[in-house]
Amino acid sequence: MSFFEVKNIVKNFGGLRAVNDISFTVEQGEIFGLIGPNGSGKTTIFNLINGFYPLTSGEIYFQGRRIDGLPPHKICALGIGRTFQVVKPLKRMSVLENVMAGAFLHTSSIVRARARALEILEFCGLYHRKDMDAKNLTIADRKRLEIARALATEPQLLLLDETAAGLNPKETEEAIKIILKIKEAGITIIIVEHIMKVIMGISDRILAISFGREIAIGTPKEIANHPEVIKAYLGEAYA
């Protein structure tokens, strides 16, 4: 039995089939990449996994347990954390409080939640911003905050949706380091990212989709050379 498994999931929005019969499995400890052109359904898949949208059909299993149909908070409590592509900071709370809100999932003590949150902020390089109101953060810091908050819920599986977007190459390096540190901490990751340096550099396996359908799955190398992926996604420059 795999750690995480998605079976034949389908999602319709009105007449549009945004996700069309996608299946994949993720093994514990790996970084699983998900790529595809804009609008191919990646974020929708995340929204299906974490319960924001109901499935049109299909099944999702986590650690052997069927999780589709559960509300998002239950899925989070089971150990699946996520970040949002369009960031959702808790605006009028400080950065620290944002992370504490996540940390309360496993403790009711303010002292402990605070200590845990500070640890995580340190880990994500946001410590110096801890007392700032989240609404005043720059985009990059908001993305970091997304990760920090998700980590605070102590997930076993973390869904990262374009957390390196908008970073310059130097900062991208740092982001990669953080993601790898998360992996080292034993957390399995599914990552959506358009920056090839990130996705090709750290993924163990990659699933490429287009128009909601799978077009290829394999190691970064295989994917990078897959003609259909090149055509639909990477463009000739990468060929």
Partner: protein, 319 residues
């Protein structure tokens, strides 16, 4: 709570206890009782509306249920309406459960208007269900105490207790969760917060306190009818006004708002005759324009204005 945090409450408590012995005019005591009533109701609303961000336009329903619990005890069963203080909060809470289940599926203005509709439904049903409620004729009782003092201390106690409950709640994990839900429900949900359940955790104590103060109101005013206790404009909206004037999502805001609301109302009534409500309306506009987060909510701004007058960049537009 450390000892510093105790100073303000301690001073307030001492003043409140000593006051009726210093100022013995029953009229002043009456005003204080009204302040306590509104402060308590405001505190209840604030827990749900201010902290958890679920702006209810139907809190009169809980207030009215509390009042009627007390009233119907004596009307039908000839049991002292003071037992309403025990029964009322529980009835309000019980009714809050289905209300929450219905309304919490909605967000923002939809939630606000759903609660508005429910509040109105209660008023209409209590008006028309004459066999149970005596309809619009209302319920009239005799006051139990000849002086104001007992009422004063009961009201004070209820107010203090509600402050304590709310304070304990918002200073715990619950408080963080409430505010998270207010700031972004989707984000909160994805952080493992069962938002509906926690909204309920805000609603139930809120309804409990509103029911309690409603039951007290019945005993104190000694007459209720559906039009009065389920009023949209005089209760549901006014309680929001009280909280927002004082300061949303602050512990003392509703109480400060209540003091201003009651005091202004009385002063204007005495000074301005028929123009009193007009003057009150103008004050409401001014407060909200110049102190958009209420008096307590803007204390920081006020302090900063006083201490630092350095020129600053002006932000046009804002977000």
């Amino acid at each position: 709570m450390n000892w510093k945090g105790m100073i303000v409450p301690a001073i307030v408590a001492v003043i409140a206890v000593v006051l009726p012995f210093v100022v013995q005019a029953p009229y002043v005591q009456h005003i204080m009782i009204m302040v306590f009533i509104w402060a308590t109701l405001g505190t209840a609303w604030n827990l749900l509306g201010g902290y958890a961000g679920q702006v209810s336009f139907g809190h009169a329903a809980f207030f009215g249920l509390g009042a009627y619990s007390a009233g119907l005890l004596i009307f039908h069963l000839k049991i002292s309406p003071w037992w309403g203080l025990v029964l009322g909060p529980f009835i309000s809470m019980l009714v809050a459960i289905p209300i929450g289940i219905i309304c919490f599926r909605l967000r923002g203005p939809y939630f606000a208007l759903a609660t508005l509709a429910l509040g109105e439904i209660f008023r209409l049903v209590f008006t028309n269900w004459v066999s149970l409620t005596n309809g619009a004729q209302g319920i009239l009782i005799l006051s139990s105490f000849p002086t104001k003092l007992p009422y004063y201390f009961i009201a004070f106690f209820i107010w203090g207790m509600s402050l304590l409950i709310v304070d304990r709640m918002v200073k715990s994990k619950l408080g963080y969760y409430f505010v998270s839900i207010r700031e972004d429900q989707d984000a909160a949900e994805s952080l493992g917060i069962p938002t509906t359940r926690y909204k309920m955790f805000a609603l139930l104590p809120s309804a409990f306190i509103a029911g309690l103060v409603g039951a007290f109101y019945m005993n104190y005013i000694a007459f209720i009818d559906p039009h009065v206790v389920f009023s949209l404009s005089d209760i549901s909206v006014m309680v929001i006004l009280v909280v927002m004037m004082g300061g949303v999502a602050t512990l003392w805001g509703p109480s400060v708002g209540a003091a201003i609301y009651v005091a202004l109302g009385e002063l204007f009534r005495a000074w301005l005759g028929a123009a009193n409500v007009l003057a009150f309306g103008i004050i409401v506009c001014l407060v909200i324009l110049f102190l958009p987060n209420g008096i307590i909510g803007e204390l920081g701004t006020l302090k900063r204005l006083l201490s630092r007058q350095k020129a600053k960049a002006v932000m046009a537009g804002g977000n």
